[in-house]
């Protein structure tokens, strides 16, 4: 299945990626946590940022979700640090 990924703030800066299209194995069920782990396998900063000390929040199709949320084909997934607006 195909998804679109977005990264924001410190995550975007460190990973040096703001967006990417990703193809994932369709037979498996992809949760946010499984995706974080998968991306962390890229090594170096990916592991540090996604599975390290920094809290990483996620959104699927513009809705905040928890790590257990399931990702579907065509979804827009975003990873970002805790928000600091206002």
């Amino acid at each position: 299945m195909k998804i679109k990924l977005f990264y924001f703030a410190r995550l975007k800066e460190t990973l040096k990626y703001s967006t990417e299209d990703l193809e994932l194995e369709s037979s498996a069920e992809w949760t946010v946590l499984k995706l974080k782990n998968y991306l962390a396998q890229r090594g170096d900063v990916w592991g540090q940022m996604l599975m390290g000390k920094l809290k990483v929040r996620a959104a699927i199709n513009h809705e905040l979700v928890h790590d257990g949320a399931v990702i579907h084909d065509g979804d827009e997934v975003a990873f970002f640090p805790p928000v600091t607006g206002g």
Partner: protein, 149 residues
């Protein structure tokens, strides 16, 4: 209910007048303005940059406003949040709530801000004498939000 994400500054007086419009049944308008300070965590701040998630930002603010409408009998809400680069003393955000009475207007205004601080996808980056840094989310903001559970 109006939600705006913009780079331009806003005029609070004008926005409040516009919120009231020609309605004669509004008895209370409560407003909050968030400003850029020149100091944070003991360091001088020369400049603040607000990043956001286009698409989700507006949805998130609308969701928060909708929740406020469900919880309180209010007549209208306006949220304006700026993005981009700002200087100390600049306005960042305006939340204005119109109601028949002050009770619900005050509560709804505070609620919207507490939820905005913890859910709306904005991120602040400060320029200090020792360089740039991302502002950390505060536990006190999570506590403030939890009060409304």
């Amino acid at each position: 209910m109006t939600v705006r994400v913009q780079t331009e500054d806003f005029n609070v007086g004008d926005e409040i007048k516009r919120l009231q419009g020609s309605r004669k049944d509004i008895g209370a308008i409560v407003s909050f303005v968030g400003l850029v300070r020149d100091i944070n965590d003991g360091d001088a701040v020369a400049q603040l940059t607000l990043e956001h998630y286009p698409g989700m930002t507006e949805k998130s603010l609308n969701k928060i406003v909708d929740e406020a409408k469900v919880r309180w009998n209010i007549m209208d809400v306006l949220v304006i949040h700026r993005v981009g680069t700002m200087q100390p003393c600049d306005q960042i955000v305006l939340v204005a709530v119109a109601g028949a009475h002050r009770g619900e207007a005050f509560a709804a205004c505070e609620f919207v801000m507490d939820y905005l601080k913890t859910e709306a996808p904005f991120w602040k980056k400060e320029q200090t004498p020792s360089g740039e840094r991302w502002v950390e989310a505060k536990e006190s903001d999570d506590s403030a939000k939890a009060r409304w559970n």
